[in-house]
Amino acid sequence: MATQTPKPQEILTTLGHQPPSENWMDTKPEFRPGMYCHPVKIASLEGMGGKYAREWAPAEPDWKLPADWKGIVKEGLKDRLNRFRSFQVFMDICVRCGACADKCHFFIGTGDPKNMPVLRAELIRSVYRGEFKTAGKILGKLAGGRKLTEEVIKEWFYYFFQCTECRRCSVFCPYGIDTAEITIIAREIINLLGLQIDWIGTPVNACYHIGNHLGLKPHTFKENIEYLLSDVEENVGITIEPTFNRKGAEILFVTPSGDVFADPGIFTCMGYLILFEHLGLDYTWSTYASEGGNFGFFTNNETMKRLNYKMYAESKRLGVKWILGGECGHMWRVVHQYMDTMNGPADHLEVPKNPLTGTVFANARSTKMVHVTEFTADCIKHNKLKLDPSRNDHYTVTWHDSCNTSRGMGFLEEPRFVLNSVCNNFVEMPDTTIREQTFCCGSGSGLNAGENMEQRMRGGLPRANAVRYVHEKHGVNLLGNICAIDRASLKPLMDYWVPEVAVAGLSELVANALIMEGENARSTNLRGEEINDLREEAGLPPIDFPDPDEEGGGEEGDE
């Protein structure tokens, strides 16, 4: 039963933001194909020791909840109120001012009032009041309280898997109420009943047992990278031989497994490989810690810890000095705000020091993990990279700030510095849609499945709308980012809303501009596309590349 995603025009013409007349407690979500994710496979849930694994379907009336489901939820709620000050405070202090209402990309793209962050939180707050607070118990609806029912659970499932934990609302909230935090905890509670989506549950299980979300076994992981290297050989003309699980390397490199697997992430991955080759970096990949991302973060904090453990464990086993991390959004929120707390202290590592520039990354003194973009920025600043930004001249790039690195880290200028160093045409989207106000791709927090495409396209509408604005105004044809989920999800989003715009990770653009020793004429980019074709499309004169078949071809780059 393939579901048809409505056409862009259908969405745009039917979209409205007026709430209905009936009270929100009296409305129910409609489980319409395209707007929700499939339930988790039994084997995946059980593989992680999850309880109540069963066959069930969100659109069916009976969700086969465990016998004592009400007790489980109440206990789970109480337990988390005691363990998370954030949750307790956020349950208590919202004044429903509504400043967050129109900040959510899902509200903007669906018009569903329960996608207003305030109301999303009220879905759980109402139960907190109705089940735990005296006034709510006695006055019920009048005090904003309601009882826990199966309908409530279904509503939670629908709306807490229609929030990407992007934190945009929390930027505008006068009390800093963070819906991401509420969604994280709500999902923990929903998970207690064996309710999980497959796009989260299956990658988690694969990551735990096999090493990465995609379930690439060690030899396959290595083969995938070798396959990318054969493309590099063809398009750049250089041979790279990276190492895997090598003891005694200075640096362990970890990136989301999506980067070794799917277009356009693979080009970002080629970018890393070329960059490290350019620098002669003493680093190794690991097939065991072959996942930078952490879908455990979308499950519960215990699972997040179990998956994250491998990075430090592997760095210890291999005896590296520090860890370098690839481009990824939620990976970096976990590395930045959770990793050291969960699995540290990493006393077996040294404070990261760039072997080429001598820069000590004091900001990563405790985690001992450095972002590849800050590493690249440091190298560029110290003139350690030979760059020819004009190789990206056929691109007019705009920059998508990823939610997690922006609002859960503050990583804004480093990528811009790198971008400005490797390409000549960079324009910003409007201020209200970038940096800390950036819009989510609409598919974060494990929602980039295939079956919920309408939900994703609607959620990504504000992002796409801003891209379309700069596309029309400045001829933008490339959307840059530093996030694996972005690379996977912005591509279909652009294809749907702004098909003229391609998507690329930052390291791909870096590698396009890198002048490599022994390179060929570089008449194609990392994607194997002819530079002159791209230049023609962009209205630029062709470059007179030496004929690759002629003797000596592949010696010198373009002048």
């Binding site: 006068p174 464990a313 003194r365 609002r407 709308n465």
Partner: protein, 343 residues
């Protein structure tokens, strides 16, 4: 329904106060109730704040709203992405006293042709700020009723609050203006701002949709408190000397009703204020305390630099490397990946 309920509730409170006057329950309303209300307020607020404080902060989760401290040459946004305790204090100051986050507010417009645009929207910030600041000044100004002599600070606040009145010729014949008290801006602004916030809740469909009785009720209560205060001061001209006798008797813990009669409006005012005090700790009004404890705002963003400790860091089972190698040893050897144990 919640709206109507709130109107009924505040009307009933006024009715109760009037009935109290009629039944001569003045001592109860002016002595017993204020003590009880104050005790509830103080203990209630303390309880709530202590309860929040006793819950741990397992993770360091500031919402970063600007550039983090990183490479030396990258300019840091120290306030919106605090890198030190001092910076957090600055961020909290701006948040609590100037509503920094609300100042960012934008308004989404969905235009024809499916275009989404965002405009600046500072009204909520402006009236929210006016509301809270004028409320604070009103409260501080009222402290004159509980001190003799009145401390200089409170006098100064009152002086500043009536500043615009000075030098203005007061209207009215027969020297009426002589007895007219100076107009305190704070009371008028409080009423105006509260009315704005109330109307905003009525008019903006999304905000109306999310509003509960617990949103309408305190707003209506505060509006009525401001109104009764203004009526007392300017229309009925309540015997302030008698009121001060009463309040000083409360403040010195020798409670006694003054011999002089005090207008019924005073009793209505005091019943409403006491209701607000009692209601406060059990309501959303506790955002006053909670905003200080919000982990997305009051933490330094230095979790890569300094390890944050989670007191309940859970014991979990890990999938170790040796278990992994046991699962894949043969394939690893075949693929030329180094292993710990040969097959």
């Amino acid at each position: 329904m919640s709206f109507i309920f709130s109107i009924i509730a505040v009307t009933a409170l006024v009715g109760v106060a009037l009935a109290g006057v009629a039944l001569d329950l003045r001592y109860f309303m002016a002595v017993v109730l204020p003590y009880a209300a104050l005790a509830t307020f103080v203990l209630g607020v303390a309880y709530r704040v202590l309860k929040w404080s006793s819950a741990p902060v397992p993770f360091r989760i500031p919402t970063t709203c600007g550039q983090a401290k990183g490479l030396d040459w990258v300019k840091t946004n120290k306030i919106d992405n605090p890198c030190s305790t001092g910076a957090v204090l600055a961020r909290m100051f701006l948040e609590i006293f100037l509503f920094r986050s609300l100042f960012r507010n934008t308004r989404m417009e969905y235009r024809e042709g499916g275009k989404v645009r965002y405009g600046s929207s500072k009204w909520l910030w402006l009236f929210g700020l006016l509301f809270h600041w004028s409320f604070l000044i009103v409260v501080l100004r009222h402290m004159r009723f509980f001190f003799e002599p009145v401390p200089g600070l409170i006098q100064a606040i009152e002086h500043a609050d009536t500043f615009f009145e000075m030098g203005l010729p007061l209207p009215g014949p027969n020297g009426l203006e002589v007895s007219l008290p100076l107009l305190a801006q704070s009371g008028v602004i409080l009423l105006a701002a509260a009315t704005f916030l109330f109307l905003r809740r009525v008019v903006v469909p999304q905000v109306r949709y999310i509003s509960l009785a617990s949103d309408w009720f305190p707003l209506l209560l505060i509006i009525l408190i401001a109104k009764t205060g203004i009526i007392m001061r300017y229309v009925l001209k309540v015997d302030v000397v008698a009121v001060k006798k009463l309040t000083m008797s409360l403040a010195t813990f020798h409670p006694a009703l003054p011999a002089e009669p005090i207008s019924f409006m005073f009793y209505v005012h005091i019943v409403l204020v006491c209701t607000l005090l009692i209601y406060f700790p059990f309501s959303k009004l506790m955002h006053l305390g909670g905003v200080w404890l919000s982990p997305t705002r009051n933490l330094v963003n230095n979790s890569r630099e300094v390890r944050h400790v989670n007191p309940w860091n859970p014991e979990v089972h890990f999938h170790t490397y040796s278990e992994y190698e046991d699962d894949f040893r043969e394939q690893m050897i075949e693929a030329g990946i180094p292993v710990e144990k040969e097959a």
